[in-house]
Symmetry: C2
Subunit: 213 residues, 2 copies
């Protein structure tokens, strides 16, 4: 018979597995949040779990650290009282999103690096890299869904995302030599430029009216 109630910690095979996994993720999260790229052994030690067991739950360091990626619970980035003007909406989203990226820059860098492993096989498995950015950005375009087809909105969202993500931040700061603030300004500006172009000349791949050139 199944146990009737167990207020504190249920004990059973399934519960044990959950606890072990949680301990690993929690330990990894704590270490990653400090900007470190902990070894599997370090995470396992911090969780008081053997290295072998860590590998039983996560087949690679990448997947372990991936699971530790900061959860962004936000379901929307439009905030209170979203404006109607698409440019203003987009700017809100961009500011919130870039702020999130800057705030978690170390983790973002770690994840970016891990996502570039040479074997493309594992690359797919990373759920974190496919964040909710596209959803958030698309929300900003709600008022102009009519003017830009669904495909257009998606294409535009992709272009915007690729202009305001961690990759852009890394390049603008590390190689472009901008400060964090300047990089964020540049990304905000780019996002607006892309929106204006889409409104006046159609989204990428979905040219409306005259060809772009």
């Amino acid at each position: 018979m199944t146990p009737v109630s167990m207020p504190y910690e249920a004990s059973g095979r399934a519960e044990q597995k959950l606890r072990t996994r949680s301990a690993l993720v929690a330990a990894a999260r704590a270490l990653v949040a400090q900007g470190a790229t902990p070894s599997v052994a370090e995470v396992a030690d911090a969780a008081s779990i053997s290295r072998a067991t860590a590998y039983r739950y996560f087949p690679s360091q990448r997947q372990l650290l991936a699971a530790a990626h900061p959860e962004t619970a936000a379901t929307s980035m439009l905030g209170e009282d979203p404006p109607e003007d698409p440019a203003a909406r987009l700017d809100r989203v961009v500011q919130a999103f870039t702020a999130l990226i800057v705030r978690t820059e170390q983790q973002q860098r770690t994840m970016l690096r891990l996502s570039l492993a040479e074997d493309g096989t594992e690359r797919v498995g990373l759920p974190l890299r496919q964040g909710r950015a596209i959803t958030w950005i698309t929300e900003a375009f709600e008022p102009v869904r009519e003017q830009l087809t669904d495909d257009g909105v998606r294409a535009l969202a992709l272009a915007v995302r690729s202009a305001i993500g961690i990759e852009a931040l890394v390049w603008l700061t590390d190689i472009g030599g901008l400060t964090r603030e300047q990089a964020v300004e540049s990304m905000r500006w780019s996002a607006q430029a892309l929106l204006q172009a889409a409104l006046s000349r159609g989204a990428p791949g979905v040219e409306v009216g005259a060809k772009a050139r």
Copy 2:
């Protein structure tokens, strides 16, 4: 006294060092060109040089592979008969540049990954990541230098570069799910959008006239 002439291979300490270094770089280049990320031992073996010696020339695998990065000799991407229209000029540069990126995608990915090492110290030392892209892009803006201050041109070039580089390609294909061709189209479109915005509303960080919003 120094030897008078030595038609084939000069032999001396300096020449020996050059030959060893060249052999390493050549071997690394050949392996990297195949899309591999060879270990130091593999490169050393291919060059018939001991691993220890390889480390004497390059303190890390990253620096070794960095030296193997494809040399892009092109001094300009405008080609024959450059048009006057800035949009057309930019499109030429963007097409040539993205074609280069796509053609050497494997190496570009490798370099991107290597450039993201956790210790920021070594990050600086990579000469390859600071390619000539900014120069090439800036050339496209020659006709509009008057309208956009020097700072404006630079800021715009940075924004464009961050929209058309390997980072953008990786994101658009791996996560955005676009094909190479679609990704290139998206990047071309973005570059044009940024140029138009700069011409009509001023470059990022160098707003001319009314604020962007």
